[in-house]
Structure formats: structure tokens, C-alpha cells
């Protein structure tokens, strides 16, 4: 376990109702958005718990966020080394168990989830070959997952997108299956920013507890520090969804 090296205390008043729910935020060497993910958890009213890649236990968290970054530098293939971290074995087991640990993989976290085979497919370099940072419109295709229940089906949200290897690919059979099983959770709207197959921005596992996406909802949780459209807080729903699920489930 490590304490996240924060600047400032970010003392957001937790929702008394939700604060009992603990969401783990994993830090690998090279993880970049861990402090942001922890802030998003607090903004949503929950308690963020720092998890270290070398930990061998999950510290009794109720859910896990694997944030963005370049774990181990991603010099090999994004996420290819991280899947072997001790903590990942625990996360894989817990996600596949009957307890269905909710897991959200954002950007590099999504890449780690595909490398871990918690989610199908893979990410390759953007079709335009450049790093791209922009405010991206997404359509919520499935609002029944653990992480999207606070959205309306078909709702369009704007969250930042920032990556170099964001092009989602899978074979046709897998893509057909994802669509047939309603596991495409988000699609890019207006413009496909990286060449992802079938405009897919995010997917889930069959149970809906594991969700991965390339865009960054944790960067759209606080007015003035996110996208300029709407209030810039369209990403908050990910975190309130899972908190409500957890609290609802324990009550």
C-alpha cells in the first residue's frame, strides 16, 4: 500500500450515505491519473483507497479503478507488463468471482484490462499516428453496467480523450458478439478520433462489473477543470453509479 502523493488535501465533503464505500485506485510505476481518479471518487462522495501494484491484497475495497498513464513506460505493448503485477492477479480473481468486484479501466487501465483478458480485443496506435488530447463526445450505449447506471441510455456525454494508442480492435466475431450481448458501453459520437472499430470507445464484460474505456471520465468531475461543454462534470456519473450500486447492494 502506498499513500498517493497528493498536492493539497482535496478535502471534498464525502456523502455520508456513500462514504462507507471504498474504491481502490491502483498505482503502477508510470501511472499518471491516479490522483485524478482518487479525486473523482471523493467528488462522487466515496472514499478513495490507494492500491500499489505490488500489493498482494485488495484492502477490502468495494471496487477498483485502474487509471491512465504509461505503466512501466509502455515501451512494450501498453499494459503488457502490468497484467503480471501481483495486484492484478487479485483483481482478476475478484472480478471473475461470484462477488463480481466492480473494475473500471480508464485509458491505460482499459489496455491493462484487455491484456489481462478481463475484456476482449486490444488497442493499437491511433490511425493518425499522433497523440491526441480533445474533449470527446460519447454516447452511453448501455446504462445497465455497474459503472453507467446513473446515465440515461443513449445519453451523450463529453469527457476528455488523451492517448496515443487508442484504436480499439478485435476480430469481427468478437465485435459481433460484443454488440449482440450489449457489451459496447460507449461509442464515439461525431468523429471517430482514433479509428476504433465500430466507433467503440468502451466495453464491458458479460456481467457488467468490468468496464474499460479510452476517454477519461475522471477529468470531467469538477467545474472549471474539465471540458468546457455542459458543466464539465459529465464523468461524475461513473463514480456515483458504482457507489450507488455498492451502497444499494449492502443496504
Amino acid at each position: 500500500m502506498t499513500e498517493l502523493p497528493l498536492i493539497g488535501g482535496a478535502p471534498v465533503a464525502v456523502e455520508p450515505q456513500l462514504s462507507g464505500a471504498k474504491i481502490g485506485v491502483v498505482t503502477f510505476p508510470g501511472t499518471l491519473d491516479d490522483r485524478d481518479a482518487a479525486r473523482a471518487v471523493r467528488m462522487a462522495g466515496g472514499t478513495a483507497v490507494a492500491l500499489w501494484h505490488a500489493d498482494t491484497h485488495l484492502a477490502d475495497v468495494d471496487a477498483v479503478v485502474i487509471p491512465g498513464g504509461f505503466s512501466y513506460g509502455d515501451y512494450l505493448r501498453a499494459g503488457a507488463i502490468s497484467r503480471f503485477a501481483p495486484l492484478m492477479s487479485r483483481i482478476i480473481d475478484a472480478a471473475n468471482s461470484d462477488a463480481k468486484l466492480p473494475v473500471l479501466g480508464i485509458c491505460n487501465g482499459f489496455q491493462i484490462l484487455t491484456e489481462s483478458h478481463l475484456l476482449p480485443g486490444s488497442m493499437i496506435k491511433n490511425d493518425h499516428l499522433k497523440f491526441l488530447c480533445r474533449d470527446q463526445v460519447l454516447r452511453v450505449e448501455n446504462n445497465t453496467t455497474f459503472w453507467t447506471s446513473d446515465y440515461e441510455a443513449g445519453q451523450e456525454i463529453t469527457v476528455p480523450l488523451k492517448n496515443q494508442d487508442g484504436q480499439y480492435i478485435a476480430d469481427e466475431k468478437t465485435l459481433d458478439a460484443l454488440e449482440a450481448e450489449d457489451r459496447v458501453v460507449f461509442r464515439y459520437v461525431g468523429w471517430n478520433p482514433n479509428g476504433s472499430r465500430r466507433d467503440i470507445a468502451g466495453i464491458s464484460n458479460a456481467a457488467g462489473n468490468v468496464v474499460g474505456l479510452m476517454p477519461h471520465p475522471e477529468h470531467a468531475v469538477e467545474p472549471g477543470f474539465g471540458p468546457e461543454s455542459n458543466a464539465g462534470t459529465d464523468g461524475l456519473g461513473f463514480f456515483t453509479s458504482v457507489l450507488n450500486k455498492i451502497v444499494g447492494g449492502t443496504q
Partner: protein, 772 residues
């Protein structure tokens, strides 16, 4: 566990101090290493004998222009001298450390610095630019701060020159590739195209970091018996300027040849190093710390020892190597990236090692602090360096280089744009003016920089309150109070070419204005002085004048220079670049939620122009478009800048304005278009009163680059209060129009209607057209 040189065995004929004393007549390659004859003689005098090969390596790099500031030092002193007590009150650490530190209040401190990485970025743009970011970030870490943002002022050759795309693609990708991987938002910078930078692009990098007062760390080695440790990446053969010469130390020819002089960056190693250092600081596990940049271990050991109270002894074979064939001199000179050196008390060794192990960072204990006053470096126990560290790090040569106002300066200044051949057919009809505005905002220097900035992560960290294309980048420091900092960098090589003294002041004035425009109170300055060869008296005059001008202006505006960098020899053959003093200003915002963006949004808000307009087209972007450079740059009036700043800051704090944009390159025309395109909200503008009041024609009103001006949008409810404030302060203000949210156009009386769609397309198309 490691491959140190020791395990490979002794392959070199080690030139020990003992040997040097015995063999005074040995020929040494001092000239090839860049030392002048008088400098070599000085080394011999200082040591009382000839230097060893290792000592020669150290002196040659540490006495280089880059490390010693030998040509500029006599002039740079003015930054330390022209400082009032008032200016010192918030300066916690001044010039001379890795970066200056400014007090932000509430126990917070901020450190920032700008540096050049010009030559490497021309030779190998990706790695050159990447390691430029890496180096400046390590300067920030070594002050004890968490880096929180970066910025990058860029100057390239002509946009249509075939080589420009190579440099542009590489440098931008390198800045993105490295900075994005560190988790540091890129919040702004500059981009200028000019053929003077064709063979010598300017790639400057700025980093800013924050810390609690108690976390400030300094680069010094104190306390006898404390241990010296090198950690981070291993030392390799990259970045050795004199490798070919030093290879003569070797007795075998099996070693790799033609090692790159440009360093290669590993951003992952740097990111881990950042977190690792912050954990060390948090646990108070280091006494002193120094990053390894230019001159590598030579610099780190001599500066730490020189700043400390004693001496230092290190065993060079303990250095972990990437290439076991490196000679002692090469190890001392290597500029391998992502390395840090620290001083640790014996009690903290175990805790230090635990942090290293946690982050899987390699380290090796090299030696310890002594009380001898000497820097002793051994190779398998044999002394190869025995020097007074001050003579290496601080008491290098200083030159009073001759300088004189160039013979051509008068004729350049006499060649004004108005009435010149290039001024023929100046736009005047409504159609011509509309076309001129469109041409201006699509031009290489005025077009949208989105092609560049969308390759940078501006969100990471979650504290970016404002970034490009707004006038200043704004980062929150304290999440509880909203306390934050604003930063802007500016330079105008054309103005500075016409008049170096005032050109440098104009750079400061613009950066100061940009920071104030965001609502922040300007507090401190860092500068990166990019000039040609100091051995050319013309260039030396430009440098001397720019420093004099900048230091005078800093004193008048009350903002101290807390650090910076001088980059000389920026020229191709005998042709220097335009003198380009890049000035970064840092300001403070008590609550970043109050920041002012550069674009308007609300329909019906009044648009005011602050300041007055004179016929000042010399050096302007319009004259640049017409291929003219001559005359005198716009007049500088620092008291006006200060008053304007106060108005913008007060108006922001008291909620009197919703948007503010400074007028600089491209004048009012560029500012009106940029403020409209920022949120895609147009305006109706009438300049008849301005033309009447200031006695200029409509073209001049739009394209003049008179200083001390800004446009603001004022909510109806605040208009009286805003006008009263300007009137009470006696500051020129004029209502020039109104925000028009529905129209989708920018209407200026006397100018054909400009649709925002067409303006946007023209503004955005330029960089993609040239760079894909």
C-alpha cells in the same frame, strides 16, 4: 547485481594526480575539449600542476559557455542588483540555485524556470526536445517541489521550408512524448516561424513546481560523514561532447564509437524518479540534492561540494554504467538523463534504500562528504581528481567581451514600414480590410496552434484551470482554497532586432500583461536569453542591451528575475538569429475560479478597449506578412502596463469582466478574432470613436501593435462600476462594441462582414496544411 566498471577490469591507462605532478609536459587535448589557451593556463595555475585527464574533462565542461555563463555573467549581475527590498519580500530562493522559489502564501511556495535545448533539437528534434523537458523538470524536482505543469516556447524556420517539418514534427512529438508520459499538463507556450531560425530553431522549455515551505531543498553537500548517492538511470555514453578526444585515453579499440552527442530520454524513468524524490522529501531523507544535466557528474559533484561547507570524496568505479567501457573522463562528462545525486545522513541510509527499492530505482553509494574543502575523485582508490570545487563550479573564467552598437542599426531603424515599398497598396476599403484580417489570422505566426497543443495532455493532474489558447496557463495549487498560479512566456525577436533594449522590455511587458489578463498578480520572472555568438560585438551588444533593458523593466514593474538560462552561439555560419529573450512571468491567483478567459460568451456584454493606439506598424505581424523589417518597435510605457495590469486584476477579482484578451502581435484585429473564436461567439464592433480619439485610420486601429492595451467584455450590470474604476484611475477606456451570440459573425463597421465559420477555417487550416 550490477555491472560497474570495476567488474570489467581496468582497461584504461589511468592518469592519476600523482602521475600528473610527475609528468608536467604531457600534451593534453584542451583545445579539442573547447578550452582556450588562457583558460588551460588558468587551470594549471589553479591546480599548481597540469590537470589529469579527468580534471581536464571537468574543467572543460564546467568552464564552457553553457555551464559557466562566462560571456554573460558580467551583464547578468544586473538581475541581482536592480532589485528593491519590496521585490525581495516574496523571494525565498533567488538566482543561482537550480531554480528560484517564490512565496505564494498559506505556506505554499512555487518554483519555475525556463531553459533552452536549441542545438540538440536541431540535430535530433525528438530527443532534443524531449530531454529539454526532462532537464527542466529535474531542476524543479531538485528544489524539493512537485512539478505541476510545463510550457514550451518554440521558434522554427520558415513554415514552407522543407526542413521545418522535420524539426516541427520531431520537437512537438518529443515534447508531447516526454511531457505526456510524466503526467505534467502542458499549459501553453509560443510558436513563431521565421527564416532566421532555419538552421537554429529555438526549443525552450519551462517547468513549474509547488511545495510547502518546509520542503524546499538546496543543492549542497554538508555534514562530514554524510553519504553521497547517485540514483536513477545508469550512466551511458550519451551526451558526451568530447567523446572522440577522450577515447584517446583508451588502450583498446573495442569500444562503441560515434556515441551520440544528443542525450536520449526515458520519460518512464523520469516519472518514477519524480515520485521517488517526492517520497524522499516527504520523509526528509536527503540533506541536499542535485539533478544531473549538463556536465553530468562533473557538475553535480562540484556544485554540491562547492555549495556545501566541506569537501567530498567519491569513488568513480561505483557509478552504475550502461556501457562498461566508459573511461573516467567520459563518466564525469556523460549527460545521460534521469539521474539525481543526493546527500544522505548515515541514519537515513536504510530508509533511503527502502524508497529506492519500492520504486525499483537503481542507486549506488559513491562516497561521502568530508571536511577537507577538496573534491577528491578516485578510480579504484587512486586519486584522479583533487580540486577545490569552487574553482570548477563557481570561479570559472569571466569575460568582458567587447560590444558595440552595430553599424547597421541606424539604417535598420530608419527604414520604417509606413511609406516603404512593402507598404504599397495598404488595405483601406471594407473588402480589403476583411481580406487583410483573414490573411493575418491565417498567417504562420497568428494561426491556431491547435495542431501542436492537441498533441499535449492539458488535463492530467486535474488542476489545469486554463491553458492554450488563453493568454496564460493557470494551475491550481491548493485544492482547498483555490490558490493557484498563472504563467505566460513571450518574446518578439523582430522587436528585439530593431531595438534590443526595448525589445526585451516588450517581451516582459507582454508576458506581464498576459498574466494580468488572466486575473493573476505578476510576481516573478524567469528568462531564457537566446542570442548568437558573444564573440561577435554586434551580438554582444544585443545581449548587453537586452539584459540592461530587461533588468530595468523588472525593477520598474516590481517583478524579480528568479532564474533562467542563457543560450549563445545560436547562429548559422556568421548569421545570428534575431535576439530572442524569452521572458516567462509567473503570477498568483488567490482563487483560480476567478480566472479570466480570453473569449466572450454572454450575448449583450459590452466590449471595451483599454489603452490607446498609435501608428506603430514597424516590426508588426502585418509588416512581417509584407516582408518588411525595419524602424522602431512599439513604444514601451511600463507605468501604463502596471496600471493596465491593476485594472485587469481588480476587474477579475471583483467580477467586473468575463473575458479579457491582451493586444500584442496582430493588434486589435487578431485580438477581436481570437476572442470571438475562443467560444465561437461573435461581436459587433464600431471603431469610429477610437479612430477619432487616437487620430489613426481604421487600418492602423486594427493592425497597429501599440502596447499597454487589452480588450475586455463587461456584463451590463457591471458596466458603470467598470467605467468608474477606469475613470478614477485615469486610464483610457472606450466601449467599442457588444457581444453578439446569435449572429455567428464578427461585424466591424467599415469592414466587410466576417463569418466565424470562415474565420475559424482560415485560422485552423494553416498548420495542418503544412504539417498534415
Amino acid at each position: 547485481m550490477t555491472t560497474s566498471a570495476e567488474t570489467v577490469g581496468k582497461k584504461f591507462n589511468i592518469d592519476t594526480v600523482e602521475n600528473a605532478a610527475k609528468t608536467p609536459d604531457t600534451e593534453l587535448p584542451w583545445a579539442e575539449l573547447g578550452l582556450k589557451e588562457n583558460e588551460f593556463d588558468e587551470v594549471v595555475k589553479v591546480l599548481g600542476r597540469r590537470p589529469t585527464g579527468a580534471e581536464l574533462a571537468m574543467y572543460s565542461v564546467m568552464w564552457s559557455e553553457h555551464c559557466s555563463y562566462k560571456s554573460s555573467k558580467n551583464h547578468l549581475r544586473q538581475f541581482g542588483e536592480k532589485v528593491t527590498e519590496e521585490m525581495k519580500k516574496d523571494m525565498l530562493v533567488g538566482i543561482g540555485e537550480n531554480a528560484g522559489v517564490t512565496n505564494l502564501g498559506d505556506g505554499w511556495a512555487v518554483t519555475f524556470k525556463i531553459e533552452s535545448h536549441n542545438s540538440p533539437s536541431f540535430v535530433e528534434p525528438y530527443q532534443g526536445a524531449a530531454t529539454g523537458i526532462g532537464g527542466i523538470v529535474r531542476d524543479i524536482i531538485s528544489m524539493g517541489a512537485r512539478p505541476v505543469a510545463v510550457m514550451d516556447p518554440l521558434r522554427f524556420g520558415a513554415i514552407d521550408h522543407p526542413d521545418t517539418a522535420r524539426v516541427m514534427h520531431g520537437a512537438v512529438a518529443g515534447i508531447g512524448g516526454y511531457g505526456n508520459s510524466l503526467g505534467l499538463p502542458n499549459i501553453g507556450g509560443e510558436m513563431v516561424f521565421d527564416s532566421v531560425y532555419q538552421g537554429n530553431p529555438l526549443v525552450n522549455a519551462l517547468a513549474v513546481g509547488v511545495m510547502r515551505h518546509e520542503d524546499i531543498r538546496l543543492a549542497n553537500a554538508s555534514g562530514k560523514g554524510n553519504k553521497v548517492v547517485l540514483f536513477g538511470a545508469r550512466t551511458g555514453g550519451d551526451g558526451i561532447g568530447g567523446a572522440s578526444v577522450l577515447a584517446s585515453e583508451s588502450f583498446d579499440d573495442t569500444k562503441p564509437s560515434k556515441r551520440p552527442a544528443v542525450q536520449v530520454g526515458d520519460p518512464f524513468a523520469e516519472k518514477v524518479l519524480i515520485e521517488c524524490c517526492l517520497e524522499l522529501f516527504k520523509g526528509s531523507l536527503v540533506e541536499g540534492i542535485q539533478d544531473l544535466g549538463a556536465a553530468g557528474i562533473s557538475c553535480a559533484t562540484s556544485e554540491l561540494a562547492s555549495n556545501g561547507d566541506g569537501g567530498m570524496q567519491v569513488e568513480l568505479t561505483s557509478v552504475l554504467l550502461r556501457d562498461p567501457t566508459l573511461t573516467p573522463g567520459e563518466i564525469l562528462m556523460s549527460e545521460s538523463q534521469e539521474r539525481m545525486m543526493a546527500v544522505v545522513t548515515p541514519e537515513n541510509i536504510a530508509a533511503f534504500e527502502a524508497v529506492m527499492d519500492k520504486w525499483a530505482v537503481e542507486y549506488s553509494w559513491l562516497g561521502e562528504v568530508t571536511d577537507t574543502g577538496r573534491l577528491i575523485i578516485t578510480w579504484e582508490g587512486e586519486v584522479i581528481v583533487d580540486v577545490d570545487p569552487r574553482t570548477v563550479a563557481h570561479d570559472g573564467p569571466v569575460y568582458d567581451r567587447p560590444f558595440a552598437r552595430p553599424s547597421w542599426q541606424d539604417s535598420v531603424q530608419a527604414d520604417t514600414f509606413t511609406g516603404s515599398v512593402q507598404d504599397a497598396g495598404r488595405p483601406s476599403s471594407s473588402g480589403e480590410l476583411a481580406a487583410a484580417i483573414t490573411e493575418l489570422i491565417a498567417s504562420p505566426n497568428m494561426c491556431s496552434k491547435a495542431w501542436i497543443t492537441k498533441q499535449y495532455d492539458r488535463y492530467v493532474g486535474g488542476n489545469t484551470a486554463m491553458a492554450f489558447p488563453d493568454d496564460a496557463g493557470v494551475v491550481r495549487v491548493d485544492e482547498e482554497t483555490g490558490l493557484g498560479v498563472a504563467l505566460a512566456t513571450d518574446a518578439n525577436g523582430r522587436y528585439t532586432y530593431l531595438d534590443p533594449y526595448h525589445g526585451a522590455q516588450l517581451a516582459l511587458a507582454e508576458a506581464y500583461r498576459n498574466v494580468a489578463t488572466s486575473g493573476a498578480v505578476p510576481m516573478a520572472v524567469s528568462d531564457c536569453l537566446n542570442f548568437g555568438s558573444p564573440e561577435d560585438p554586434d551580438v554582444m551588444w544585443q545581449l548587453a542591451e537586452a539584459i540592461r533593458g530587461l533588468s530595468d523593466a523588472c525593477m520598474e514593474l516590481g517583478v524579480p528575475v528568479t532564474g533562467g538560462n542563457v543560450s549563445l552561439y545560436n547562429q548559422t555560419g556568421t548569421v545570428p538569429i534575431h535576439p530572442s529573450p524569452v521572458v516567462a512571468v509567473l503570477g498568483k491567483l488567490d482563487d483560480v475560479a476567478r480566472r479570466t478567459p480570453s473569449g466572450w460568451k454572454e450575448d449583450g456584454q459590452a466590449i471595451y478597449l483599454l489603452g490607446t493606439t498609435a501608428a506603430e506598424l514597424d516590426g508588426s505581424e502585418w509588416s512581417n506578412l509584407r516582408g518588411h523589417l525595419g524602424g522602431l518597435p512599439p513604444k514601451v510605457d511600463l507605468s501604463i502596463e502596471r496600471q493596465l495590469g491593476e485594472i485587469l486584476i481588480n476587474a477579475s477579482r471583483d467580477g467586473m469582466i468575463d473575458a479579457a484578451h491582451d493586444l500584442s502581435e496582430g493588434g486589435l484585429a487578431a485580438a477581436l478574432v481570437e476572442s470571438s473564436l475562443r467560444y465561437g461567439v461573435g461581436a459587433r464592433i464600431a471603431l469610429e470613436e477610437l479612430v477619432e480619439r487616437d487620430g489613426v485610420d481604421l487600418f492602423t486601429a486594427l493592425f497597429s501593435e501599440s502596447q499597454g492595451r487589452a480588450i475586455v467584455s463587461v456584463p451590463r450590470s457591471e458596466e458603470v462600476r467598470f467605467k468608474d474604476m477606469c475613470t478614477a484611475r485615469g486610464f483610457a477606456h472606450l466601449r467599442i462594441g457588444v457581444v453578439d451570440a446569435a449572429g455567428g459573425k464578427l461585424e466591424i463597421n467599415g469592414v466587410d462582414e466576417l463569418s466565424l465559420d470562415a474565420l475559424n477555417e482560415a485560422h485552423e487550416a494553416t498548420l495542418p496544411k503544412y504539417f498534415g
